[in-house]
Symmetry: C2
Subunit: 432 residues, 2 copies
């Protein structure tokens, strides 16, 4: 498009900490961190630097979420991390959360926590805005994608249980419970589309509302032997439920059809709640209905963005070879020319660079990386494939090749075939 | 483009907390907050909720910064907010920062601060990655745009002195001081382009390195009577310096040409430093040069993103009427149809909506808002103009009108004139 005159494909040589096997192998400590070592650096216990490759994965996830939330009139905001103890005392969660809450005292002796979630803050904010007086239409659907804090007892398992994690949290406000239920269905519809676009199979299960308060709650899980949650799925009637939400932990028959349910291990990546007026009553967040001010009916909804990134690598990768769903891969295609110094280098390398440039114009911005390292074609191919990049285009003495997860073309007749392949991909997958 | 099938203009009625004069007037408390009340909500002292309109301004600023930083091979990362006291004790800043540092103790008794800046963290991270062993090429230029923390003594003046603020901070690593100076010039070149694109006149002044350590330092200021910094500018030779960096506070002659310098008030919005090896030596961040491991030469660079948003409103707005530079306005154009219930409504309102749709296709995504409130054209025009939206297109019984800051067209001959005006704008301004 005319807006981006300086659009350029990336190059591995200038890409900071592009994975290298020797380094990755050294870091293999039998936990999940090694799978993402290409892109994250553990710092103090439970905190990580998100390096450029992982940041690209988080940006893609964020874009998918933005797109689907904005399609249901979700509006993006940012709430502060520092949350005053007064609010949390009012809701009773200052004590209930216990040691999981990071607590800070300011120079004036005021106490704050670092928000692990923001029901108190957003409800206080809505109350302060006096929306009935400014005539704001309902429903209100606000969301943010921001870093949250939890003082985990034993931070481990990499980003799956970090002390700082990226979460997309939405808060909805409706005039009555029926409308709140409609919003709940609309938002969980967007959740389904988000998880479908990411492309990893997921299950949605009935859940317990736990600390949050409220009446209805569902969780989204990726099934994996690495999961810490136990969920039950009925093969007969599709009923699914978190083990914690069972009325009797020993009775694992389906409550709908009495069949014995299957036990699965899940990694929780999303949680949705109907909260009702639990928070709006406390904080005075009201709307004017039928001649009186009534408390708003709330829902809240969280997607674990860093958890998804970590879980996806966890589930799809084999050993040191990182694999991610196409929709969130750091790059879509790696382009490889002949080995520097080889007979065909002078002739073919400029053509490989041109190929990278052309693919960069077909695909959305920043999805192409050109491998300009001094290695052989074989080594570059192996390393790019093992770095979570799904497609590779190779131009060497054997002609033009395409390596894709489901298909491999060798001796491709001219670049048009490659171009059409990627154009097709863009149309089919709605790549962002 | 084919990638965005659900592209839609926004509507004021569904836009949460679109400004309303009655509300704004009530909140006028003589400080700068009122100017941004349309879009931010003060919570506890020094913290704010960034509401949708302000979030759009921050997103536009972030995009400009991303574009210019990535054009100089800057790579985006995220560093954790929790920064271990060990690191800050090593650099000596745990004590030197004093009460400005928010401090947190975790459940195991470990002490952390909430990062107001990240020299320690990024240098530790680079050291841990052992870049010489993985063959990463220098220079390394890493940046993040993230929320930082300062326990301000008296948080006031809205976002200009908030306890949580959005900052774009870059850190550069070079093999020697000469290359570090080259990177410094490259990054400050990107700074100039960023500030030029934002479009508000700025000055770059020599500054003191203060707490940071290092040898060379410059600040970027917006000149304003509201500024808390004093800077001196020489009218003869272009020398500019922060008052704090003067060798003798009473001697305000230009050190280059001895002319008397002019005293100005500035709002600091950027600060750049050559740090040398102050941090890299301490944390062991080295590269392999001429047969030995030598400490990397560092630079660091910060842009105050929320400060720019606040300062711009501060400088350009008049009373309750918010004005922002075009490049960071929450929307580029507001489209207004006839008053609901008027004679021409049925006929012209669909055409106004079509106009919004067409402009949405010409401009980058999400730059058009259609005003579907029930008010008169005059009231809608006044409120959109006063909400920081630079251009308005009106379709009413008097025909088609364009209201822009530098020009007004009434009775425009057909929509093509309007379309061409905005196409031109896109080409000229490189709107993102």
């Amino acid at each position: 498009m005319f807006l981006n005159p300086r659009r350029l494909y990336s190059r591995t040589s200038s890409f900071f900490t592009f994975p290298s096997f020797s380094k990755a192998a050294k870091e293999d400590r039998g936990d999940v961190a090694y799978q993402t070592i290409f892109a994250i650096q553990p710092l103090s216990a439970g905190t990580f630097a998100i390096l450029p490759l992982a940041n690209k994965v988080l940006e893609r996830l964020t874009k998918i979420i933005d797109h689907e939330f904005q399609a249901i009139d979700g509006q993006k905001i940012v709430l502060p991390s520092l949350s005053h103890s007064q609010l949390w005392r009012k809701s009773g969660r200052w004590d209930r959360y216990g040691p999981v809450l990071f607590r800070v005292t300011d120079r004036a002796g005021q106490e704050f926590c670092l928000g692990p979630t923001h029901e108190e803050t957003v409800t206080q904010c809505i109350a302060a805005l006096e929306i009935s007086s400014v005539g704001t239409k309902l429903p209100i659907r606000l969301y943010q994608t921001s870093w949250k804090f939890r003082d985990e007892d034993r931070p481990k398992r990499g980003l799956l249980r970090a002390r700082e994690f990226l979460m997309a949290d939405m808060y909805s406000f409706d005039s009555d419970l029926e409308k709140c239920q409609e919003t709940y269905d609309t938002v969980t519809g967007a959740y389904d589309r988000i998880f479908n676009r990411i492309g990893l199979p997921f299950v949605r299960v009935l859940a317990s509302s736990g600390d949050m308060g409220g009446s209805v709650s569902h969780e989204y899980h990726y099934c994996s032997p690495h999961g810490e949650d136990v969920v039950y799925a009925c093969g007969t009637c599709e009923h699914k439920i978190n083990g914690e939400a069972l009325k009797d932990a020993n009775d694992t028959r389906c409550p709908s059809c009495s069949s014995e349910m299957q036990k699965l291990q899940g990694i929780e990546v999303g949680h949705t709640f109907i909260l009702g007026d639990t928070y709006s009553k406390l904080f005075g967040a009201k709307s004017f209905q039928n001649g009186q001010n009534l408390p708003l009916q709330m829902g809240c909804y969280g997607i674990g963005v860093t958890r998804i990134m970590s879980a996806a690598a966890h589930i799809l990768s084999q050993g040191l070879k990182l694999k991610l769903p196409d929709a969130i891969a750091p790059f879509t295609v790696g382009v490889i020319g002949p080995k520097q110094g080889s007979r065909e280098y002078e002739d073919l390398n400029p053509r490989a660079m041109e190929m990278a440039d052309q693919l960069d114009r077909i695909l959305p911005s920043h999805r192409v990386i050109f491998d300009d390292r001094k290695w052989s074609i074989g080594r570059k191919l192996l390393e790019l494939k093992s770095s979570g990049i799904p497609h590779q285009v190779v131009l060497g003495k054997n002609g033009l090749e395409l390596h894709s997860p489901d298909t491999e073309f060798t001796n491709v007749d001219g670049p048009e075939v490659i171009h059409n392949f990627f154009k097709e991909l863009v149309v089919k997958r709605e790549l962002l």
